[in-house]
Amino acid sequence: MNPVSRHRLSRRQLLTGMGGAIALGAGGKQIADWNEWSRRADVVIADAPGYDVDLESVVKRGLAELGLGPAWVKGKRVLLKPNLVETSLGRPQINTHPLVVRAVALAFRSWGAAEVRVGEGPGHCRDAMLVVDESGLYPILKEAKLPFVDLNQDEIDSKPNRLRETSLRRLALPRTLVDADLVVSLPKMKTHHWVGVTLSMKNLFGAMPGVVYGWPKNVLHFAGIGPSILDIVAAVRPSLAIVDGIVAMEGDGPLMGPARTMGVLVMGTNLPAVDATCTRLMGFNPWRVGYLVAASGRLGPIAESHIHQRGETIASRAQEFQLLDHPSLAVLKT
């Protein structure tokens, strides 16, 4: 297996040459809109004013709105993939909140899941347990008796890269993820200084094994962040996304930006549709996010008219997120 693409990019090119990551014109929208004519998806925006509310009930109600319940979960092996990026003492906007992880785990358990595990392969920090500790997740895992899997270090399985957005022929995946019946992406709602937004699709970067791809999954950065996101989503085929938008991050995301209180959990079984909805909630245009445009039609719909919005409306909950002051990001608001 040779996972390394030979694209020559400097860090500077990656940082400033974001034209590939941020979509360009309205022409692209028309083509993609046409391509996704047969794609429809339901997305729930659930009101969750804080982490101290009964989040398990919020999750269950939201999933019921999507038509999901015990029959969908019973007997399944479930892997929850939160977004745990870096140590973050006192900065709740960086990582998926532990109480969201707990709520989803308890909901799945009460609906009869055979097994619920939590797995993450942090991008920057090789010591996953340090991130688990400093994110505040460990006491929750212990109390709820939830096993944690360091996806960076898990056993490796290899799959053909069926989408081939990148030049990688095969993708190495953690065995825990391959063996799971339901993979649930549990990201944080955040801006991202390279690709605009990081949500349920980009969160799956963290599912890729660092022992193979390096830290922070550097081979995939080399292959192109946007194309890699698409290849990973197509290979992993996640069943569900639940985005922690209770406290989100704006500005210099995904690590350094300030908190923005949104008070929502956003759920859906189609990840591009969930991420497009979140992007609109953040006050951005999903047709300006390169990897969402590339996903349109192939992995799901991103057009507002193709997404059946349930629960809260976008208009009632959208806010104007701040962006890092960089020309390549300003286009997100147009």
């Binding site: 297996m1 860090r11 920090c125 347990m129 200084h193 550097n218």
Partner: protein, 301 residues
């Protein structure tokens, strides 16, 4: 029972009978990094024939993985050589075995690198995790540690790598995984990156404002860290810079207790054992090298 005895026993129990190597956990397939750390921990202050025999078998397993050009993959079944090569060199050097494999591995490491040009179009120095991608602090530090043990610390690539580590030091102390800043904003230090960078710089032993700030950051950060990998590497680094905290024994026992309830990986336990003794730190420094003098490899770029 003393936690060290328990940890040692757990490591031995996790060894795979078939090949004498270690995986991420006892049921996992064997890999170079946990095997290297486990064998170093078992032999750090035990020179008995039994301990050596176990370590030699593990080193032989690593030698069997070596590609013809000298690099090692993560584990059997994967072809591409990458960052585990440094751990193999370190192990073979400490046990003073497999001289031919060491020469080949050293050569591969000195020839391998990044495809990343700096803003001035020059090689920025250092090593990537995976051949041909960007350079990062941790693989650079690991390569420097291994190559210094092999007597290559004056090789131009090592000198460039030391300069790269200095250049990427954070103003507030310590190192992030890679860059110093993104979009002009300084990143936060990480304990493991800082620890490995400090161990690599301890080879030269030159104190500077960079090393002092990093030692200060790490000394403060470790007070609240009980995850084994970060604490283990962190304490090894502080000992290498004569800043080993007086409370370290208590911290290590607490970390071991935590390992027992959540992370019995041989690599984590091995790092705690290595951090617990002076001998554990010395393994990473050239003063301990049993490597016979050799002709340094010339820069072939």
């Amino acid at each position: 029972m003393d936690w060290r005895t328990t940890a040692r026993r757990t490591i031995l129990d996790g060894r795979r009978a078939r090949d004498g190597a270690w995986g991420r956990d006892p049921s996992g397939s064997p890999r170079v990094e946990p095997t290297a750390l486990a064998l170093l921990a078992l032999t750090r202050d035990d020179d008995s024939p039994a301990a050596r025999s176990i370590a030699v078998q593990a080193c032989d397993w690593m030698a069997g993985l070596q590609n013809p050009r000298g690099g090692l993959p993560l584990s059997a079944g994967l072809e591409e050589s990458s960052w585990p090569t440094s751990f193999a060199i370190l192990s073979w050097n400490v046990l003073d075995i497999h001289p031919e494999a060491r020469v080949l591995a050293r050569g591969w490491l000195l020839d391998s690198g990044s495809d990343e040009p700096s803003s001035a179009g020059e090689d920025p120095g250092g090593w990537p995790w995976v051949q041909g991608t960007f350079t990062w602090i941790e693989p650079t530090a690991l390569a420097l540690i291994a190559l210094a043990l092999e007597g290559e610390e004056r090789h131009p690539r090592c000198l460039e790598a030391v300069a790269m580590i200095h250049e990427r030091a954070l103003n507030g102390g310590g190192w992030n995984a890679g860059n110093k800043a993104v979009f002009g904003r300084e990143l936060r230090p990480q304990p493991t990156s800082t620890a490995l960078a400090l161990i690599a710089l301890a080879v030269r032993g030159e104190r500077s404002i960079v090393t002092s700030r990093a030692v200060d950051y790490l000394s403060d950060a470790l007070k609240t860290i009980r995850s084994a990998a970060s604490l283990g590497w962190g304490l090894i680094a502080l000992r290498a810079w004569d800043a080993y905290p007086t409370e370290a024994d208590v911290w290590l026992a607490q970390a071991h207790e935590l390992c027992q309830e959540r992370d019995q990986s041989p690599a984590s336990l091995a790092l705690l054992l290595l951090a617990a003794s002076e001998a554990g730190t010395r393994l990473f420094l050239p003063t301990n090298s049993k490597s016979p003098p050799h002709e340094p490899i010339r820069d072939r770029r």
